[in-house]
């Protein structure tokens, strides 16, 4: 019976310079990969030698204001050993580019397109790097933290357009810990400054 931790150690033994010590949180193992350029090589080994035949998801996080700005997390799973593993890497805004893993798992195709669409990170070598949710030609990357929730006006004649959404004092934020459902209800407030009191 193999465990995620054993598999993580085997991966680390193969790439000792690249991979950090496994961090455990609530039974889940996370490895940090220091060089984004090495991710296809690491993933290929994880799939072919360690049996991670299923790429569950690739996610991206925008730490706006920090450097490096972006985090990517690759969620791996193997149907042979039923062990999950998470690989994380940091990517700077200046670079905003990393090699694709579509050569390892074909499932990465749409995950990478979504990250390109929402975060603006480009995957080198991707077979078909188009936007997947917004239309082709949309000029922004809407899940970046510096993009307003209501959106920005755009116009591409005969293709599409957008207008900012009316937020009426929002965004509507719910805050956990209110004493009743009325206090916990989503209301227009700035979470950092308004604390538990709704904005007047």
């Amino acid at each position: 019976m193999t465990t995620s931790l054993e598999l993580a150690e085997r991966l680390r033994a193969k790439f000792p310079a690249l991979i950090s010590a496994p961090a455990e949180f609530r039974g889940e193992i996370t490895l940090e990969v220091s060089d984004p350029e090495a991710i296809p090589e690491v993933c290929a080994f994880a799939k072919r030698e360690l049996g991670f035949d299923y790429l569950v998801d690739i996610t991206s996080v925008d730490h706006c204001g920090e450097d490096p700005r972006f985090t990517l997390a690759y969620h791996l799973y193997g149907y042979g050993h039923l062990c999950p593993l998470r690989l994380k890497l940091r990517l700077s805004e200046e670079k905003s580019e990393l090699p694709t893993v579509t050569g390892v798992w074909r499932a990465a195709d749409w995950h990478e397109r979504e990250i390109y669409d929402m975060m603006g990170l480009r995957f080198r070598g991707h077979p078909d790097l188009r936007r997947i949710l917004m239309w082709e030609g949309y000029p922004y990357f809407p899940l970046r933290k510096d993009f307003p929730l209501s959106g920005k006006p755009t116009r591409l004649p005969e293709v599409a357009f957008t207008e900012p959404a009316p937020l009426d004092g929002g965004p509507f934020v719910t805050i956990a810990g209110g004493k009743d459902t009325i206090a916990r209800e989503p209301r227009a407030r700035i979470p950092e400054t308004d604390a538990l009191e709704p904005r007047k």
Binding site: M134, F147, L149, A160, A165, L167, G170
Partner: protein, 169 residues
Amino acid sequence: MQTTTEIGYNSKVEGDVVVTRLDAALNWCRKNSLWPMPMGLACCAIELMAAGASRFDISRFGAEVMRFSPRQSDVMIVAGTVTYKMALAVKRIYDQMAEPKWVIAMGACASTGGMYRSYAVLQGVDHILPVDVYVAGCPPRPEALLDALIKLQNKVAREPLIATLKKVT
């Protein structure tokens, strides 16, 4: 030899004639055969399907001919969230429908954007189409859609059809 002479009341003629206004007759034909263009975009489309199925049975009101063919449709039922990516496709399909045509905005999203105050969602399909009836609800029950259809029928029945036709020609 007896000859038949009809004086006054002519039963042959009277029995087969209904006196009405041409407007009313044509509108009666139209309103009882509104073919919908089911523009199903989200969960409202499930309720739209329920309205078409046996329990609610939209064919009681002559609107059961749901085919994905805008050129044969009279009323577009926009059922669901209209994203900006879909918006001009919806507009294009509306433009392909032959006159006369009507639009029902079914549910909160199609009417106002609903809970999606977002960069990605059109804040009401009335930004791009002339909507005749709005249906509240998230999603509305099939009864609400049937009510909207009856309201639309009443609206169609009141349309000054001949005057409009004269204006066009």
